[in-house]
Symmetry: C2
């Protein structure tokens, strides 16, 4: 098989594993995918290992130049788990049967994160084949990123010696646009929780009881509507207390990205944008925290009407955080706020899901300039952008804490790759481009 | 087979048809059930007929005393369709496989309305067998009551001559309590609509777009939370304009029912009641209009978290109305209110479902006293209660309009029969009790 066909075939095999970490029923698929990855790393000439956890395993793979002595060592992190995906969410085909459409690969995980980590694997595989990578390398590919990386910290701690490195590299962020190389120097954090309300002990006839028995959906809409004021600011007391004010150069860099509010609106396909006054869309996404309702459910949802006064209503919430907000503290403030506002007509249960710290790392220091040079080379001299990403990669804070190194965020995803949405895509050409970037980056790091 | 076993066997067969009128896929079951009913009426010695409609058919059955001359004629109305029911709604067994449990029959439709119309069929069957009913009788049993009886009016109009009568009788309401015979003299009406919001054109990553793109669930919670003020009053302008003020004797009759707020709370299994100040629970249910959210849905609802900013959110709403509110007018006011409040960040689509007029009929006039005497006889001399029902039976207003007669509402259902909820029940003994009531009622009407 020609090399390019083999690469595509391997990438498609990778995408076919339905590695939805949020669904416990998918654990066998996650395990199969980890075994598949370990085999690939082995075939590359790396020393691969599967580290078991109480959940999905972590795949580790290392390579050192034989007799290389004291060299730079780079940790490359990625994840093989993906967000949930069902045909009825709006996919035009099976989310786990990849298709190539106009140069774009359509499949769940194509960009987040299988495509991006696979590009790094290609770069290292090529380098080893041609005599060796510019630095020693260790890959850490986990299977629980989409549900909070709960078990990764323990693995990093247990293998701390094996994983010692000078810097970490992650491609799990967006570029400013197609062929606009981008260094992401900050990420938002996250606090996630679920609110379950129970009113009557069973579903009631809304005619027979309506007006006297309080509907938990009504209470839920009131509690959730109260989370924002008329200026789209979050009303939870203390929420903004620790929010970092961006420097002037950061607001200029945000403007230099050239992503207008109209462009964000176009990508989202939204009738009109909203959000806090005084910020552009790109600033709201990068520099400001949010309260988001990711899901809501209650009562009858089938065809036609049903005159029911339901027993239960619930919602899934996430709060995106910026430095120096703390996920546990924010979850506590939200919980306190909701408990205080909740009327006695319903019982409330709050479940905390994963949290992740926000991240900020000065791009003008340490290995930042090396990353900028590598990005420029890989994209044939194009200007490199500086970005504050709205998403969360909790692991960067864990890497800083456990391994004591910073992370270079050199994403290969595009803003309209629909990560987490239906018909997620990745440009097939970025596999090769990403491999080039990987080799340039290891080379620049080796010289820094 | 002994007679009682035969009765139970027939009743259970009736309950086994999954006649969910809200689900278009169930239409064949509705047609089968109508054919089954027509056969039963025929076996009783009545002239039965199935009247086709664009939806579920209407079963008609008439009987006249041979050579009876000028006699009273009574129309008995019921419905063979039921509310949706799925195991996962909280049923302890198959909703369409009836079970007898401590004297109660558990099945969807056991009380609403299959059990109650079946009791009238038993009464008339017995009377015909013993030489003839006290009045001429015509049954009208439809299959679209739970979705608004859209096609019934046309059938009544087309068969107006066949259906001429002195009064109509319906058992599709609650008794005040077990063995407390009750005449219902009013019903709430209903206006139903669905609100669908679309924000972004596809589901987005809540990290990548959150803060700039407005979440349609957020907008929906704000719109719905705004439907009530802090005193549980509906905020839609003009909503209360035509609401009838109850007379002093009605508030006394409501009190005489002896249903305390605590009892309503116990039936509902609710932590605490709510509603408009200045009214008891039973008054809020009978005399006051409501705005109810019967269902809400949007975003991710599976296990665990998902960081999605969804494209769509929607809700099903019903408004319970009292005299002299008009369903079309109220639906119009609500639509206008929501359109005005809806921000430009989402697209709103409002779909109107069925409407039903509220009903009020003075129980001291016309055939009211005959009904009270019959109820007293059937329940061995017990005091008869006067009730304002919170539910809706749109057909009573149609009967008044098309046939020019009032309706006696002599329900056999109990407040905790869980009509519309999971594990709906009906006391098996009320089949016989209802048959007695039917015979006493026809007898009293024949003398009035």
């Amino acid at each position: 098989m020609p090399l390019l066909d083999q690469v595509r075939s391997d990438y498609f095999d990778f995408l076919r594993f339905p590695t939805v970490s949020a669904d416990p029923a998918r654990l066998p698929s996650l395990r199969d995918c980890a075994a598949w990855l370990a085999e690939k790393f082995g075939a590359m000439g790396m020393e691969a290992e599967i580290a078991a956890t109480p959940g999905a395993p972590v795949v580790l793979a290392k390579w050192s130049q034989p007799g290389g002595g004291q060299r730079r060592r780079v940790l490359i992190y990625g994840h093989y788990d993906v967000q949930p995906a069902e045909r009825e969410d709006g996919w035009t085909g099976d989310p786990f049967e990849p298709r190539l459409k106009g140069g774009m690969v359509v499949a769940r995980g194509s960009t987040d994160n299988k495509g991006q980590i696979f590009a790094h694997m290609l770069g290292v595989a090529e380098a080893i084949k041609e005599g060796g990578a510019a630095t020693d390398v260790v890959f850490v590919v986990e299977g629980e990123e989409e549900v909070g990386s709960d078990n990764l910290e323990a693995v990093l701690k247990a293998r701390k010696k094996d994983l010692r490195c000078d810097v970490a590299v992650i491609s799990d962020t967006n570029m400013a646009g197609p062929d606009q190389p981008t260094l992401t120097y900050g990420l938002r954090g996250i606090a996630a929780l679920e609110v379950d309300l129970t009113g009557p002990s069973h579903d009631l006839h809304s005619g027979v009881y309506g007006g006297a028995v309080v509907n938990p959906i009504k209470v839920l809409t009131q509690l959730l509507a109260g989370l924002h004021d008329d200026h789209s600011r979050v009303t939870v007391p203390g929420f903004y207390k620790k929010v970092r004010k961006p420097a002037a150069w950061e607001r200029k860099a945000a403007k230099d990205l050239g992503v207008s509010d109209g462009e964000v609106r176009r990508q989202a396909g939204s009738p009109a944008l909203g959000g806090e006054p005084g910020y552009t869309a790109i600033e709201r996404i990068g520099m400001r925290p949010t309260a988001e309702i990711n899901g809501i459910t209650g009562g009858y949802q089938g065809p036609g009407p049903k005159t029911v006064l339901p027993s239960k209503a619930s919602a899934k919430l996430t709060f995106r955080l910026v430095p120096h907000q703390d996920p546990a503290e924010i979850a506590g403030l939200v919980e306190k706020y909701l408990q205080k506002k909740c009327p006695k007509t319903v019982k409330m249960k709050i479940t905390r899901h994963h949290g992740g710290l926000p991240y900020f790392c000065d791009p003008k220091k340490d290995f930042g300039p090396a990353a900028v040079r590598a990005l420029r080379q890989a994209w044939d001299g194009k200007k490199v952008h500086y970005l504050l990403e709205g998403g969360t990669i909790p692991i960067v804070s864990v890497i800083r804490k456990v391994l004591g190194v910073e992370t270079l965020l050199v994403g290969l995803s595009l803003p309209d790759c629909r990560a987490h949405g239906p018909d997620e895509t990745f440009p097939i050409a970025y596999l090769e481009r990403g491999a080039r970037m990987n080799r340039a980056l290891l080379h620049e790091i080796s010289k820094s």
